[in-house]
C-alpha cells in the first residue's frame, strides 16, 4: 500500500520536472501566474501579511514591529495604524499591550547588558572576520570552559576554602610557610611548600567546625559532588542542544547540498583574501560532494577482488594503529614506573626531568600520533568525511586512554604515606606541563616558523613548510584533555579549577596571538554546529572518564594518613555518621532513597517515559512523511487545475479574437494534458 503510494508520488514529481524544464511550460507558468495565482486564497493571505495594512490579526501585536520584514517607512505606517486601533480598543486592552511592550523592552535591555558583559566580543569579531565561524567556535568553547572553571572555583571557595580559613586557625601554624629546602623548582614539581599549601588535599583537616552534619569532610565531599553533578548537567545539556540540531540536519548529512548553498556564505568576512579562500573552500566542498556522490557509485560497483584487497589493507593499517597505541601505552607505563622509584640525590635538572617524565611522554605521544593517524587514514580509501572522523576518533581514544592508563599505573604503585597528595601532585604536574607545552609550542615553534616564512617567502623552505594551519579539532582536543585533568585531580588538588581559570586566560591570549599573528587560514574549514557537538561530546566523554576514575578511587581505597578523611574507613563514613544522627523518619526516608527498591522504581519510571517518547517520535515522523506526500499531491493538483484553467481561458480568448495561427502549438499542449486528464476533458470539450 505504502509502496504504491510512493510510486504514485514519484510519478507526479516526474511530470513536474519535465514540465518545468521545457520552455513551453515556462511560458505558461508566467501566464497563469499573473492570471490566477494572485487570486488564490493563500497568496492573498500572504500579500495581506506583507502589506502590513491589516494589522488586526492577533499575532501582529505580540510580535515586535522590528521583527517584521518590511522597510522602516512601512513599519512607521503600521505603527500609526496600530495606534489608531488602540484608541478603538478598550482601556484595559491598550494598557495590557503597553505593559507587554514595556516588559519586552526591559527584557531586551537585560539581554543586552548581559551579552555586553561577556568578554572579548571585539576579538571574536576580528577572528571571525579573518578565519570564519569555525575558528571562532574554538574560542567560544574556550570561554565556556573558562566560565565553567570559574563556577567550580567559586563552589570550592564557598564550601572548602572559606570554612577552612575561618575555623582552622591552627592549620597555618602547623605548617611552616617556607623551609630551607624550598625553591622555585617546587612550583613546577608541586613538592615542598606547594605540597603543604591549600593547593593539595593534605592541607584540609577536621577543624573546629565539627558538628555531625556540618564539618570539613562533609563540606569537602559536598563541594566536589556539586561540581561534578553540575558539570555533568551543563555538559549534557549543551551536547543535547547541539545534537538536536545535527540530528535534524543529519538526515542526509553527506549530501546536504542545499544547506551548503543557502547558508554557504559567511557574511562576516571582510578580508578580500579570506573571501577568496571562502570561494575556493565552497567550490572545493561542492566539488567534493559531487565526487563523493560518484565515490558512492564507485563503491557499489567494486568487484570482489578489489574488496578483498581493500579489507586486507584496512586490517593491516588498523593493526599498525593498534601497535602504535600499545607502544605509546607501554612507554607511558615505563615512564611512570621510572618516575616513581625514589632515587637519592640527583642534580636538580635531572630530578625535574624525572618528575616530569610521564607528562613529557604523554604529551609527545599526543602530539605525534594524531599526525600519523592523519596520514594513515589517507590510505584507507574511505570517503573524506569518514577519514576525518576516523582520525578524530582515534586521537580522542589516544588522549583519553593514555590518561586513563597513566591513572591506573599511578594507583598501582600507591604505597606512600599520604598517597592522595602524591596523586594530586601527579595531576598538578600534568596540568603545569600541559600549559608549558602550549607556551613553548606557540613561542618557540609556531612563531619562529611564521617569522621565517614571512622574511623570505620565496625560499624553498618557506614554500614547503608554509605557515601553521590552525587545526580546530586538535586544538579542541588539547582543551578537553586539560579539562579532564582538572576534573580528575579535583578531589586531590581542590585548587585546580582556580588555577585552570588562570591557565585558560593565558591560553586564550596565546592562542589569539598564534591565530592572528602566525596562522594562515586553514584550507579546510569546519562546520560550526557539527564540530561544536563534537567538542561537547568529547567533553562529556572526558567528564565520564573522570567521574568513573574518581568514584572507583574513592570506593576502592582507604583514605590515607592525611586530609579531611584521615582515620575513616571509607570516605562515605562521614555521611553515614550524619545520617545516623538524624531523627527516625528522616533516616528512614534517606535509607529508602538509597535502597535498591527505590532505584528499581526509578528505572521503571524512566523506561515508561522513554518508551512513550520514542513512540511519540515515531508517530511524528510518520505524520511528517504523510504531510509531505500530501503537500506534493496538493501542489500538483493545484498546478494541474491551473493549467486546465489557463488553457480553457486561452481557448476562449482565441475563439473570441478568431486568430487561428498560434493554434497548432496550443492545441498540442492541450491534447498532451488531455491524455492525462480524462475526467475533466468532457466539460472542457463542451465549453469549446
Amino acid at each position: 500500500m505504502e509502496d504504491r503510494e510512493r510510486k504514485h508520488v514519484n510519478f507526479q514529481r516526474l511530470i513536474s520536472e519535465e514540465s518545468c524544464s521545457s520552455t513551453l511550460s515556462d511560458e505558461s507558468c508566467e501566464y497563469y501566474q499573473t492570471e490566477i495565482f494572485d487570486q488564490l486564497p493563500s497568496s492573498l493571505h500572504h500579500r495581506r501579511q506583507r502589506g502590513g495594512s491589516h494589522g488586526s490579526e492577533g499575532g501582529r501585536f505580540s510580535q515586535p514591529l522590528k521583527a517584521l520584514p518590511i522597510s522602516l517607512r512601512e513599519k512607521r505606517n503600521t505603527r500609526e495604524h496600530q495606534n489608531l486601533q488602540r484608541v478603538n480598543i478598550g482601556f484595559w486592552e491598550s494598557w495590557r499591550q503597553s505593559q507587554q511592550k514595556g516588559c519586552r523592552r526591559i527584557r531586551e535591555q537585560m539581554g543586552m547588558v548581559l551579552s555586553g558583559m561577556l568578554p572579548w566580543r571585539r576579538t571574536f569579531h576580528k577572528i571571525e572576520g579573518k578565519f570564519g565561524v569555525g575558528v571562532k567556535a574554538y574560542f567560544v568553547f574556550l570561554r565556556y570552559l573558562l566560565f565553567l572553571n570559574l563556577l567550580h572555583f567559586i563552589i570550592i571557595a564557598g564550601t572548602v576554602l572559606i570554612p577552612t580559613v575561618l575555623y582552622d586557625k591552627n592549620v597555618s601554624e602547623d605548617y611552616p610557610r617556607t623551609n630551607e629546602n624550598d625553591s622555585v623548582l617546587n612550583i613546577f614539581l608541586g613538592s615542598g611548600f606547594v605540597e603543604r599549601s591549600p593547593v593539595f588535599y593534605g592541607f584540609y583537616k577536621r577543624g573546629s567546625l565539627a558538628l555531625t552534619c556540618l564539618n570539613t569532610p562533609i563540606l569537602f565531599l559536598l563541594g566536589i559532588a556539586c561540581i561534578l553533578i553540575l558539570s555533568l548537567f551543563m555538559v549534557v545539556r549543551r551536547t543535547v542542544v547541539g545534537f538536536k540540531h545535527t540530528w535534524l540536519t543529519e538526515n542526509r548529512y553527506s549530501s546536504n547540498v542545499s544547506y551548503k548553498v543557502f547558508c554557504g556564505w559567511d557574511f562576516c568576512i571582510q578580508d578580500p583574501q579570506t573571501a577568496l579562500l571562502k570561494h575556493s573552500f565552497i567550490r572545493n566542498e561542492l566539488k567534493m560532494d559531487l565526487e563523493e556522490q560518484k565515490f558512492q557509485q564507485k563503491v557499489s560497483q567494486r568487484s570482489l577482488g578489489q574488496w578483498v584487497r581493500l579489507v586486507f589493507l584496512r586490517v593491516i593499517l588498523n593493526f599498525i594503529v593498534l601497535v602504535l597505541l600499545t607502544g605509546s601505552f607501554c612507554m607511558i607505563y615505563y615512564a611512570t614506573e621510572y618516575s616513581q622509584i625514589q632515587l637519592t640525590e640527583l642534580h636538580w635538572i635531572l630530578s625535574l626531568l624525572r618528575g616530569y617524565l610521564p607528562s613529557i611522554t604523554i604529551t609527545i605521544a599526543n602530539f605525534v600520533l594524531p599526525h600519523i593517524f592523519n596520514k594513515i587514514a589517507a590510505f584507507e580509501d574511505y570517503s573524506l568525511s569518514v577519514q576525518l572522523n576516523l582520525t578524530l576518533i582515534r586521537s580522542i581514544f589516544l588522549k583519553l586512554s593514555s590518561l586513563g592508563i597513566y591513572l591506573f599505573f599511578v594507583y598501582t604503585v600507591r604505597d606512600k604515606q599520604c598517597w592522595e597528595n602524591k596523586f594530586g601532585m601527579e595531576m598538578y604536574r600534568l596540568f603545569i606541563f600541559d600549559f608549558l607545552a602550549c607556551f613553548f609550542f606557540a613561542f618557540f615553534l609556531v612563531y619562529p616558523r611564521a617569522r621565517l616564512v614571512e622574511k623570505n617567502p620565496t625560499s624553498k623552505f618557506a614554500r614547503i613548510v608554509g605557515k601553521q594551519k590552525f587545526m580546530i579539532p586538535f586544538n579542541v582536543l588539547d582543551l578537553v584533555y586539560s579539562q579532564t585533568i582538572t576534573w580528575v585531580g579535583l578531589f586531590y588538588c581542590p585548587l585546580l579549577p582556580g588555577m585552570s581559570v588562570l591557565k585558560l586566560l593565558f591560553i586564550f591570549y596565546i592562542k589569539k596571538f598564534t591565530v592572528l599573528r602566525c596562522c594562515a587560514p586553514a584550507s579546510r574549514m569546519f562546520r560550526t554546529s557539527s564540530s561544536s557537538v563534537l567538542f561537547h561530546f568529547m567533553l562529556l566523554l572526558s567528564l565520564l572518564l573522570s567521574i568513573v576514575t574518581l568514584i572507583n578511587n574513592i570506593v576502592q581505597f582507604e583514605p590515607g594518613t592525611c586530609g579531611p578523611f584521615k582515620g575513616d574507613k571509607t570516605v562515605f563514613n562521614v555521611t553515614s555518621a550524619c545520617v545516623n544522627s538524624l531523627s527516625d523518619p528522616a533516616r528512614n526516608a534517606i535509607n529508602y532513597l538509597t535502597s535498591e527498591a527505590f532505584a528499581f522504581t526509578l528505572i521503571l519510571a524512566e523506561i515508561i517515559i522513554l518508551t512513550s517518547c520514542v513512540s511519540r517520535g515515531q508517530a511524528n515522523r510518520h505524520a511528517i512523511e504523510r504531510l509531505k506526500d500530501m503537500l506534493v499531491m496538493c501542489s500538483s493538483d493545484k498546478r494541474f487545475l491551473v493549467k486546465q484553467h489557463s488553457t480553457w481561458l486561452r481557448r476562449q480568448r482565441r475563439t473570441q479574437t478568431s486568430v487561428r495561427s498560434p493554434g497548432i502549438r496550443e492545441g498540442t499542449y492541450f491534447t498532451q494534458w488531455n491524455e492525462t486528464s480524462e475526467p475533466l476533458s468532457v466539460p472542457m470539450g463542451e465549453s469549446s
Binding site: R73, V261, H279, L286, S529, L631, V632
Partner: protein, 189 residues
C-alpha cells in the same frame, strides 16, 4: 565628529531603536558612517540618498559577492538604482545585526538570492547563486555538467512540493534546520 550625535534628534533616535534591532551606539555609528559616505554636497539635503557605487566601497561589503543584490533589496528608491537612504541603511544593518531573528534573516536572505525578483528561486536563480558562491570567473565556475547535477541535487532536497522551484517557506524550512545561519548571516559595522 562631535556634531554627529546632535544631528540625530533624540526622538528619532529612540524611534529607530524601537523599529530596528540596533542599539543606540550602533545607530550613532551607522549615522556617522553614512554621513561620511554621503559627503559634503548632500549634507543639507533632508533625506540624502547614497548611490550604490559608494555603498559598495564599505569594507564590510567590499568582499561580499552578494553586495549588489543586498543594495537592491534594501533600496526603497523609485528608480531601482540600488541607492540607499539612511533609513534603508538602518534596515540593512538591522536585518544583518546580531539580535535579528531567524525569521527576518531568512526572509531577507531569500530576497537577496532571488535574483529576478519573481518570488521563487528557480534554476536560473540557483545557478547565479552558486556562481556567486564559487566566484564568477571562468576558471572558478563549476562546469555545466557539475552545475546541472548540483541544481538537481538542491531541488531534490529542498523543493518539497516538487514544483521545480524553491519558494519562501521551503527556503525557510532548509534554513531553520541549519543553526549556523544566524551566526553567519551578519554584518556589523
Amino acid at each position: 565628529m562631535g556634531t554627529t550625535a546632535s544631528q540625530l534628534p533624540k526622538e528619532l533616535l529612540s524611534e529607530y531603536q524601537e523599529l530596528t534591532f540596533l542599539t543606540k551606539q550602533e545607530i550613532l555609528l551607522a549615522h556617522k558612517r553614512f554621513s561620511e559616505l554621503a559627503g559634503k554636497e548632500d549634507r543639507h539635503h533632508p533625506n540624502p540618498r547614497v548611490p550604490m557605487s559608494k555603498i559598495l566601497m564599505l569594507p564590510e561589503l567590499k568582499s561580499n559577492p552578494f553586495r549588489e543584490r543586498i543594495c537592491q533589496v534594501f533600496s526603497t528608491s523609485d528608480v531601482k538604482d540600488g541607492s540607499l537612504s539612511f533609513e534603508d541603511f538602518l534596515d540593512l544593518l538591522s536585518a544583518f545585526s546580531d539580535s535579528a531573528t531567524l525569521e527576518i534573516k531568512s526572509h531577507y536572505a531569500f530576497r537577496i538570492f532571488d535574483f529576478d525578483d519573481d518570488g521563487t528561486l528557480d534554476s536560473s536563480d540557483l545557478e547565479k547563486l552558486v556562481n556567486c558562491l564559487t566566484g564568477d570567473t571562468d576558471d572558478t565556475r563549476l562546469t555545466a555538467e557539475e552545475m546541472r547535477q548540483l541544481i538537481s541535487n538542491i531541488l531534490e532536497e529542498s523543493d518539497i512540493d516538487k514544483d521545480g522551484t524553491v519558494n519562501l517557506s521551503e527556503f525557510q524550512h532548509v534554513i531553520s534546520r541549519s543553526p549556523d545561519f544566524v551566526s553567519s548571516f551578519k554584518i556589523v559595522l
